[in-house]
């Protein structure tokens, strides 16, 4: 029971990070029907930006307040990652819009290779680790000498994720920008006829996805304290798995999928085998798609002849 609660806490933390990345996948897929393979690497780039910002703040500016540093890291990483993703969309994906369906996918795979190798060349292939910024924890419950703890780090991940998801949900469902996005998702041509700037809306979608990925990247860096140029692929694939699992195109679905994948992974590691945790996550995806092809919250695809 204690192990279960502890793994539940760990799983929700991991799942929040996956969920944040998954939103970027699901929004882009919803609006232009493209699997943005580079999104996992955008996440990795954002963690590196946060790392560099952290070092600038601590070593050059001698900032001593951890809370202020975290806040600045988060903002800088969100802004610069959004800029990076905007540039990628502008140069690698926009020229291919309306083209053959596999072209943007290949372009995105190419971009993913470019990003991870760019970081490898620019920052070196070694693991980069930072000292733990936030330590300490709450004891949630204690029985038979086994204490279930919720660390401040985990609490921070939960709070930041929840706040940003709420803000994001507000933008998508209550503002004119969100309305434009939903319109483009349904019918780009019709949205354009009604005065929606489709290109700008798509760009903003990429920017929003990147900003959320940057939140995930910063949290990942703080939570694990280490980042490497190759760290984008596996979380990226798992987040995409989460998006598909939740029903691609559905925003709550992405979060639910992310939490599910996070929980499956931590529970599997605790009760069965840590080596096969990724196998469990991917098998869950395959099984869901076979029995529930549209995902948990997705709309079934209507086939038009």
């Amino acid at each position: 029971m204690e192990v279960f609660v502890q793994q539940l806490i760990n799983g929700i933390t991991l799942g929040s990070i996956y969920g944040l990345i998954a939103i970027g996948y699901t929004m882009v897929y919803g609006i232009i029907g493209m699997v943005n393979f580079a999104h996992g690497d955008v996440f990795m780039v954002s963690a590196f930006i946060a790392l560099v910002t952290f070092l600038v703040l601590m070593q050059w500016l001698g900032l001593s307040s951890v809370a202020v540093a975290l806040f600045i890291m988060l903002i800088v990483s969100m802004v610069l990652t959004a800029l990076v993703n905007w540039t990628i969309e502008r140069f690698a994906y926009r020229p291919l819009r309306g083209s053959f369906r596999l072209a943007p996918l290949i372009s995105a795979i190419g971009m993913s290779i470019v990003l991870s190798n760019f970081v490898q060349v620019a920052q070196g292939p070694r693991n980069k680790s930072i000292p733990p910024l936030i330590s300490g924890d709450f004891t949630v419950m204690e029985r038979h000498g086994y204490a279930v703890t919720l660390s401040y780090k985990q609490l921070m991940v939960w709070v930041v994720t929840a706040v940003l998801l709420a803000a994001f949900w507000y933008v998508v469902s209550r503002t004119s920008l969100g309305r434009a996005q939903r319109a483009c998702e349904q019918d780009q041509k019709m949205a354009a006829l009604l005065g929606v700037n489709v290109d700008r809306t798509i760009s903003i979608t990429f920017v929003m996805g990147a900003a959320l990925a940057a939140v995930a990247g910063t949290m990942y860096l703080l939570y694990y304290g280490v980042i490497n140029f190759a760290d984008g692929f596996t979380p990226g694939v798992k987040a995409f798995t989460a998006a598909v699992l939740g029903g691609i195109g559905s925003l709550p679905g992405a979060v639910i999928g992310g939490l599910l994948i996070g929980l499956v992974e931590t529970m599997w590691s605790a009760y069965f085998s840590i080596d096969y945790k990724d196998v469990a996550a991917f098998s869950l995806l395959a099984i869901t798609l076979i029995f529930l092809p549209q995902g948990i919250l997705g709309r079934p695809e209507v086939e038009k002849v």
Binding site: I113, A122, F233, S273, V279, L285
Partner: protein, 462 residues
């Protein structure tokens, strides 16, 4: 940013220059934002194992200047030129058309002739350095041509996007390695078994995904590819995990091994020992495999099953309403594609003598898919050209030692290998979204055989 848009017609020259400078400034600003944290600043580990920052302002400045220059060149030269060309379209030249026909007619025989004499040519031109040219270039490229041909059946002909093709490559490699080490059978006895096993895996993995389409299929095949790789890593008693399997038996020339011993190939034929004989022998094996794959694919396209694949690619619903069994059609495509992947895998294992899960990552699958799409889906010549360009190109980067003279001694061109590979993928897609050879000849015609542009074909929805 509108820097890439063609300039609005009729703007006077000073206005145009102002416009261009403004865009260049925006582009430069953007480049500062994108490159500052990752190029301008570099994290390094000092002696006490702490991360510190060092600055690289000159490099950052150079890159930003390059971006600004590119933006200026684009808005002053390239965009007006493109606008001009769009306004005055060139009439299709008959010479180019004739060249195109002659090209498609003579390219294949010429290419086959060239690859047949290639090892001799390399031996004649480079002498003892030929091993590198035959092994690193010839064999390496041909392996990818073979993988490209195999995946071309699944992606190019049947229109099923498979992002986990490296799994079948791995199955072929591991089945050869394990059976050869356990039962001591020879390469040529085990080649069909490896292919058969890979085909079985193709069917096994094909079954669950029969109902899926497009991107769902892509992600599930990716997941399967990862599952197989993770099992290879973690099933240590059988696969030896990360450490891989070494000492895999090499193919022999009718029982004569390519070793320096008395019974080795060189000694038996009275030649001085050299590793080149093994390379040339392996080269001809993979060449034969590639040609067989190409031939089988061409013949299959003429058969009902091949036509069913292509019909499935164009429109699955129409296919089903015409009474084609889509289940069997998809499964045969998966199985035959996987079989060729298995052949390539067992050849790879036999050539390397060592395999580990590192060789079968997602990057491998992505490379093969890229080769198929860049070449132009369904086109075998296109796949061969793309494989030669992409794999040969990245191999050539290993040879560019003269760049050290330009950029200083610690400059290592090989670390830019994958960076350039990815950039090439993006640029080729922007330049030719349908791939290099986008036209295709229908396999059934009524009166006159005529190539149609790939742009007219709706595909990849299966």
């Amino acid at each position: 940013m509108r820097a890439l848009d063609p300039r609005p017609a009729g703007i006077a020259l000073p206005g145009m220059i102002l416009h261009a400078v403004k865009h260049a400034a925006i582009a430069a600003l953007l480049a500062v934002g994108v490159f500052l944290p990752l190029i301008g600043l570099r994290t390094t580990t000092n002696i006490r194992n702490e991360l510190t920052l060092e600055t690289r302002w000159p490099l950052l400045f150079t890159l930003v200047a390059l971006v600004a220059a590119a933006s200026l060149a684009n808005s002053l030269i390239i965009a007006p030129w493109r606008a001009h060309r769009a306004a005055h379209p060139k009439p299709p030249s008959t010479a180019a058309g004739r060249f195109g026909t002659a090209f498609s007619r003579w390219f294949s025989p010429f290419a086959i002739g060239f690859v047949t004499v290639y090892p001799m040519l390399a031996l004649w031109l480079t002498g003892t350095g030929a091993v590198k040219w035959v092994d690193n270039f010839g064999i390496q490229i041909l392996i990818y041509v073979m993988l490209g041909f195999g995946l071309n059946i699944v992606v190019g002909l049947a229109g099923l996007l498979d992002l986990g093709y490296a799994a079948f490559y791995a199955v072929g490699a591991y089945s050869y390695a394990l059976t050869a080490k356990t039962f001591g059978l020879s390469f040529f006895e085990l080649l069909p078994i490896a292919g058969l096993l890979a085909a079985c895996w193709g069917i096994l993995l094909g079954f669950p995904v029969l109902r899926l389409r497009g991107d769902y299929l892509a992600i599930v095949t990716l997941a399967f590819g990862e599952i197989i790789r993770l099992v290879l890593i973690n099933w240590v008693p059988v696969t030896n995990g990360y450490a891989g399997i070494s000492g895999i038996p090499r193919p022999t020339f009718f029982g004569i091994p390519f070793t320096a011993s008395k019974t080795g190939f060189a000694a038996v034929f009275g030649l001085p020992f050299s590793p080149i004989y093994r390379s040339i022998f392996l080269y001809y094996i993979i060449l034969a495999l590639v040609l067989v794959t190409a031939f089988v694919t061409i013949r299959l396209r003429r058969l009902p099953i091949g036509r069913a694949w292509e019909a499935l690619r164009e429109d699955e619903t129409a296919c089903r309403s015409l009474g084609i069994n889509t289940t069997n059609t998809k499964l045969t495509a998966f199985a035959i594609g996987a079989m060729f992947g298995g052949f390539a895998g067992s050849f790879f294992a036999a050539r390397q003598g060592f395999i580990s899960p590192e060789s079968f990552t997602f990057l491998e699958s992505a490379t093969i898919v890229a080769i198929v799409v860049l070449g132009g889906m369904g086109s075998q010549i296109g796949v061969a050209i793309a494989a030669t360009g992409m794999i040969g190109g990245t191999e050539i980067l290993r040879e560019l030692d003269f760049l050290k003279a330009v950029f200083g001694n610690d400059f290592d061109p090989t670390q830019y290998r994958m960076l350039l590979f990815g950039l090439a993928m993006v640029l080729i897609m922007i330049w030719k979204p349908r791939g290099l050879i986008a036209t295709r000849e229908p396999s059934v015609v009524l009166t006159k055989r005529k190539a149609i542009s790939g742009a007219l074909v709706k595909e990849g929805h299966g």
